[in-house]
């Protein structure tokens, strides 16, 4: 961001940003602009997703879903937000008023601040922080602070259960998540989100996920851990309706209640963007190799379509993941508290630990075998590239094809058909 403003100051205004006194003011304006832009993006995405998820859930459950407000009900989230804003902001008499009021802001802050480093496309992010991933992992921990505060401050037993469950769950699952994050970091040799993406490639077999079995397993552990951190089914214990009413937000109403849901739905973007960055090649456009991109960068002129294409590719990958998460939510039952803890501490943590070691060893061997070529994208035709392609076929395409065939059979066996005419 700073570079962009510097560039504007030099080229458009003809000043030197180091000495020009107005530069600081311009930085401030730029920061606020980006802040408003990202917050708005987060809010609108969460709102649209609330509508989209309800429509998807309705399709899964053979219902229709919200389709009244605006075309296909797409403006439903505005109506909902309006309703929530107009509702009384009820604060229980016996609650801890101050904590009760500030808890939603912790949740919102933890959610919005992650957008500071999240990439949206080639060179499209608020900052390109060199400890980007570390920042994401630490800032998302704020969400659980808010949830814990709300559970405690509500002075309701159900809310307390929800808050404690959330604390136990999120803190536990940070550990396997933090562990398997190391796998792509080892492979890329960087914590910077953009550098991690640049170490991958456009084609699926150039993604980290399909480069080694360890990264492949890491993807699923990371996915599970992120589901748990985002309180999504099958880990929606903190807000398990059938057990503890509404969990930590039982006592909330009005827009404070809305904030929790805003953050929850918005977190789907954050989760998916992190997964896309780490394992699915980020904004890398297929058929444009890193060599070509580096050549463009050397001339100082990257074509505009590349910016747009990279943003489109990234958004597409994120949306596919978001839809998978939504799909999982409306398919699976919820696991129990002790099972949730077992899964984390008995399975994910040891496996994650092993994967980190294996990934490190593999990377070391690969460096010994291929030398500098092991860094970044492999040359087409090399043994390493062929291995990646073979692994992609076995681990990616074959399960996908088997799953698609099975689904097709399940649909036709009950006399159903794929029909979107009444969408």
């Amino acid at each position: 961001m700073k570079e962009l403003i510097d560039k504007i100051i030099v080229e458009q205004l003809g000043h030197d940003p180091q000495t020009w006194p107005m530069a600081q003011g311009l930085y401030l304006v730029g920061m606020m602009l980006v802040g408003v832009l990202l917050t708005t993006f987060g809010a609108i995405f969460a709102g649209l997703l609330s509508w989209w998820e309800r429509r998807i859930a309705a399709r899964i459950q053979s219902r229709i879903g919200p389709n009244r407000v605006g075309p296909q009900g797409v403006l439903q989230f505005i109506a909902d937000a309006l309703k929530l804003i107009l509702k009384e902001d009820l604060i229980p008499t016996d609650s801890d008023h101050i904590l009760f009021r500030i808890a939603p802001y912790f949740v919102m802050t933890g959610f919005i601040l992650t957008f500071v480093v999240l990439p949206f496309g080639y060179h499209l992010s608020a900052t390109s922080m060199n400890v980007g991933l570390f920042y994401v992992v630490s800032i998302t921990a704020l969400v659980v602070v808010g949830i814990l505060i709300s559970g405690w401050a509500s002075n309701s037993k159900w809310a307390l259960f929800g808050g404690i469950r959330a604390a136990a769950q999120v803190v536990s699952y940070e550990i396997p998540a933090g562990m398997v994050i190391l796998v792509p970091i080892i492979m890329a040799g960087s914590l910077n989100m953009h550098d991690i993406i640049r170490a991958q490639g456009g084609a699926p077999w150039d993604w980290f996920m399909f480069q080694t079995p360890w990264a492949y397993a890491s993807f699923f552990i990371m996915f599970t851990a992120l589901l748990a951190e985002g309180n999504r089914t099958p880990f929606d214990l903190p807000e398990a309706e059938s057990e503890i009413v509404a969990g930590y937000n039982t006592e909330y109403s009005g827009m404070r209640f809305g904030y929790y849901f805003l953050a929850e739905w918005g977190n789907l973007w954050v989760m998916s963007a992190v997964l896309t960055t780490l394992f699915l090649g980020g904004w890398q456009v297929p058929f444009v190799s890193m060599a070509k991109l580096t050549a463009w960068e050397a001339t100082g002129h990257v074509p505009l379509w590349y910016y747009l294409a990279s943003a489109a590719v990234f958004t597409l990958k994120v949306l596919v993941l978001v839809n998978i998460i939504v799909w999982i939510r409306w398919t699976f039952p919820r696991i129990r508290v002790d099972q949730m803890m077992n899964l984390c501490w008995k399975y994910l943590v040891p496996i994650g630990m092993g994967l980190v070691v294996l990934a490190a060893v593999t990377e070391l061997l690969s460096y010994q075998l291929f030398g500098e070529a092991a860094k970044g994208q492999a040359k087409v035709g090399s043994i390493r590239d062929t291995l990646h392609f073979a692994f992609f076929l076995v681990a990616g395409l074959v399960p996908f094809a088997a799953f698609a065939l099975k689904t097709r059979r399940n649909i036709y066996i009950v006399g159903d058909r794929v029909d979107l005419s009444n969408w």
Binding site: A57, I60, Q61, S62, E243, R334
Partner: protein, 388 residues
């Protein structure tokens, strides 16, 4: 703390480290207005004491105030999810008092309507159980099929929930001419839906893991607590009133009695009489009910749908009669005493849900709160049937 002290003094408990939690009467998964006083230490319960009576409407007393046929609509309200059975039980008891013989066509219509209603009731039970475990999607699937049953029953008797179809001496209406093909078509469709149900939820890994080996009721305990119906059969006994004490048209049909066999599988910790058995026995019962309805449609006899000599004013001789039927929630028994007048001297209904409530306190020791929800759902209790 005020609430805790109130609850403690009310139920004479001593204060300790445990947390007392009032689950219900307004709670998403207590299946109606039931209250559970949960004594919990963290997530683990020391016990959960059910408090019943929030939905008591004195239906049995109403039976002493209204005439014999006039009580029939009230029986619908005893169990609104399986109203046919409540109708049938009462009709059977009064018919015994009067010494009436019901024509075979009426008996077949009773069997068909009851078995369809059993499927509808089990669908709600299975769907809400899945929802209590956290899977929301199976519930609308179950409701969708139940809607079709409601359509069929509406075509048969004009009502979708409180049928008032069975009458003293027969049934209210004959089967409509075009009803049989409709019913057959739906039965063929429902076979596939049950397979889909098994794929969707019954053998979902998380679902089975949640229920396997949970809240096991050994057979002896089930008998001691007087459990009935699917809850009893899940503990591993083949006892079904339709076979043990056949009534109506049931001797004509060939069907199996599903009972608990640790369906979850031993490697998952499945034990005979666990929550998964209670769930899966109901799925299997739906399959048997489909087969019974098919057989009834095949053998559907001609004739009258109402006994010819039912008096306009029903005034049984002084005496008493009892009827037992296999309802969706287990044995439902009616005991009717007549003093020779137009109104019953005493009507008593014995229902399955009430018996199932008794065992919860014993079973809930050491369970987690999430498991209590699964336990309540697996016993398939319905608030109006508990309290009447």
């Amino acid at each position: 703390m005020a609430l805790d002290q109130l609850v403690m003094t009310k139920f004479g408990e001593t204060a300790g480290e445990e947390m007392i939690l009032n689950m219900g009467p307004q709670h998403p998964s207590t299946h109606g207005v039931i209250n559970f006083v949960v004594h919990a230490d963290g997530e683990v319960m020391k016990k959960a004491v059910p408090q019943v009576g929030y939905l008591h409407r004195a239906i049995e007393k109403i039976g002493e105030i209204v005439t014999y046929p006039g009580f029939m609509p009230y029986t619908d309200r005893i169990d609104y999810l399986a109203a046919m059975f409540a109708n049938e039980g009462y009709a059977l008891a009064v018919e015994k008092l009067l010494g009436l013989t019901v024509p075979p066509r009426a008996q077949y219509l009773r069997a068909i309507s009851c078995e369809l209603n059993r499927i509808a009731s089990h669908l709600i039970s299975l769907g809400s159980m899945a929802m209590d475990i956290g899977a929301v999607t199976p519930f609308p699937y179950a409701l969708r099929e139940r809607e079709s049953i409601n359509d069929l029953l509406e075509a048969l008797c004009g009502a979708r929930l409180t049928y008032n179809f069975h009458r003293i001496g027969g049934v209210g209406f004959d089967m409509p001419d075009d009803w049989m093909p409709l019913c057959r078509k739906w039965l063929d469709h429902f076979d596939r839906i049950l397979d889909e149900w098994d794929r969707l939820i019954s053998f979902n890994e998380i679902f089975v893991e949640r229920l396997a080996g949970l809240a096991v009721i050994p057979l002896e305990m089930a008998i001691n607590y007087g459990l009935v119906g699917p809850n009893l059969r899940a503990s591993g006994i083949e006892f079904d009133l339709r076979k043990a004490h056949p009534y109506g048209a049931y001797p004509d049909f060939d069907f199996k009695i599903p009972f608990g066999k640790a369906y979850a599988g031993a490697y998952r910790g499945g034990v005979v009489g666990d929550c998964f058995d209670r769930f899966y026995v109901r799925v299997l019962e739906c399959r048997e009910s489909v087969s019974i309805v098919r057989q009834a449609l095949d053998k559907f006899p001609p004739g009258e749908f109402m006994a010819p000599k039912v008096p306009r004013k029903i005034k049984p001789e002084a005496g008493e009669a009892q009827s037992r039927i296999e309802a969706a929630r287990g044995e439902m028994a009616y005991y009717v005493v007549s003093d020779g007048g137009e109104r019953a001297y005493r009507v008593r209904a014995r229902t399955g849900s009430f018996l199932a409530m008794g065992i919860i306190e014993e079973l809930s020791k050491g369970l987690m709160i999430a498991d209590l929800v699964a336990l309540i759902a697996s016993l398939d209790v319905v608030a109006p049937e508990i309290d009447r």
